[in-house]
């Protein structure tokens, strides 16, 4: 025979005749029932902040959405520059650090003879940048590894559902979105028409030993076009 609950020493006469305890239990459920029936539901999406008498803690999902915490890692995006090109310089750091190996990059090189100013300040750009969202384990290492702040997970979106597996492989047109980001240390701000890049104070993203020479003062540093998101990684 199983454990005989009737030998429980905590049982007193109320529990022995069962009905008083039954009525107490009914009082609890009735209280919940009446509160939830008659009181308005607080629709605050943060359940812990709800102050209404109604005890319902449901968030009606498609209409109400829980606000994600600031560090939430959503769908990737390739961060664009002011001119709409990706900030990415195809350094392969994210592809190397990715534990799921879901990033595939093919690098292209700027032609040094090209008169376009890009070719004078950065050498490489991605011709292919592909993330397989099904393989991604959303660890965020790529964001941490990126030296150019070119990949972020600040979209606050889940990966949307698709019907086929190939649709989950995101390429540059699908990844390149969101507000453009600029840093004062970005090399394309140093375009001044001169052969050598102008001097910039050392910042987080500048390379070691870069621009140490005092002989090239800043000639004309163009002000970045508004709106510019400054140093708000992960926001």
């Amino acid at each position: 025979m199983a454990y005989d609950a009737s030998q429980d020493p905590t049982k007193d006469v109320r529990e022995r005749i069962y009905i008083p305890e039954l009525l107490r239990g009914l009082a609890v459920t009735t209280r919940h029932f009446l509160l939830n029936l008659f009181r308005d539901r607080d629709k605050n999406t943060s359940v812990v902040d709800r102050k209404s008498a109604s005890l319902v803690s449901t968030v009606q999902y498609p209409e109400e959405r829980v606000t994600y915490p600031p560090g939430y890692r959503g769908l990737h995006r390739l961060v664009p520059r002011e001119d709409g090109k990706p900030r990415c310089v195809a350094c392969y750091m994210c592809a190397t650090v990715c534990p799921a190996q879901c990033i595939y990059i093919e690098a292209g090189e700027y032609d040094p003879a090209d008169p376009a100013p890009d070719s004078r300040v950065i050498e490489k750009f991605p011709t292919k940048f592909v993330i397989d969202e099904l393989r991604c384990i959303v660890c965020g290492f790529c964001v941490e590894a990126c030296p150019k702040d070119a990949i972020r997970m600040d979209t606050n979106q889940h990966t949307p559902s698709e019907y086929t597996r190939p649709s989950f492989v995101y390429d540059i047109p699908k990844l390149l979105k969101g507000p453009p980001v600029s840093h004062p240390s970005d090399p394309w701000f140093r375009r001044s028409g001169s052969e050598e890049p102008p001097y910039q104070p050392v910042e987080a993203h500048s390379r070691i030993g870069e621009g140490r020479s005092e002989s090239h003062p800043v000639k004309s540093l163009p002000a970045p076009a508004a709106p510019v998101v400054r140093f708000s990684k992960g926001g």
């Binding site: 020493p9 109320r14 009905i19 009525l23 308005d40």
Partner: protein
Amino acid sequence: MGRPLMVCFAIAFIVALIVALMAAAYGVAYLAEGWFEGGARLSNILFLMLLFVMVIATLLTVAERKWSAMIQDRIGPNRARIALPFLRDRALGGLPHLPADVLKMLFKEDFKPAGADRLLFNLAPILAFAPSFALFAVVPAGPTVAINGRQIPMIVASPDFGILFVFAIASLAVYGTSLAGWSSNSKLALLGGVRASSQMISYEVALGLSLVGMMIVFSTVQLPVMTDAQARYLWQAATDFDFGLPAWGIFLQPLGFVLFFAAAFAETKRAPFDVPEGESEIIGYFVEYSGMKFGMFMISEFVEVVVLSGVTAAIFFGGYHLPVGEQWLSRLPLFEEHPWLFGTLLGSVFWIKVVLLCWVQLMIRWTFPRFRYDQIQALGWKRLLPVGLANVFLTGALILWDPSLRALASVGILEIATLLVLTFSRRAPERQSSLAGGTHSSSAHGALPQPAPSAGQR
């Protein structure tokens, strides 16, 4: 409009609907009685059984989902919508789920397992559904009123055997469940059917005994007579507006009420007595049923809830009678002139009582964990049966001693008071002192390690 207002409006709407339907029931019964002798009974079948019982039972399917959600701090079903311009964005309290469920059941495949007995497999849902439905025939839903010289009863049938009909037909329903279990050619269904029949046997006796007290009190087995006997007062204040303690069964036989409610609850096969169904282990006697056949089992459960509420209201809560002020109301010129209005009022009172009792049953169903199988049998045979017998003897003795029922009512009120005192008194502090813990941990709990009793635990 705030939610409190909206809920009050919905409740008022339901009450108004009940009043209107009751007035219609009297009106149609009057017309039918004029058409041929006994036509009122036919219209009562339509109104009381098909309209009131069926509609309340079907609404209870949605109510159970919605009310259980409220008990459990959820919202409940609210996603089915009606695609009309002004209704598209309204959940309507989950009501559109009702037609959605019905359509789903109607259009699902009617599956018959291989090796199932075709005749009995098809017969079982009907056998389960029809008896619970027929039970309501002897429950009076309103007073018999005279309109233009025609006597209009608000009951389908008033045979001499009254409650015995309820007992007989209620136990017939188990044929449906046990046949469903047997004919499905499934071991789990068979287990459910066997459990249903054994549970039915152990509670049938207690069910009968619990009402013997009421039969002694009112010296009748007919529900209309019982109901009318509860219209008078045990103690009455000498005022124009009649006011006092009505001779309701709950005051005369609180013990009988508890026994009856528990036994009848077991008969409905709902939690905490849902062992035949056993959602979490065997799915129960209807595990092989699909589509509307399963729907008939489900709806018969809710019909039983409504019928049980009706019988309980008629026997223990004064039926269609108001607790106070009924005689004063009946002397009002409006009601003296139009007796059907008075009947409508009392009939609405009855249905409101029924709905409230349905609510109580659903609250009980969503409050209590289910009993283990041996606990169910022990409760039926070792608790309810002896207590029921004692109740019969006590009632008989008290009636012999004081035929005016006042002694019985005093004992009944004493019982209720004792129960309330036990309920509201604070529990004794947990006995985890060295005395209880020391003697107990070694013997009863066996290998279960007990935490060392600390001084601060008292």
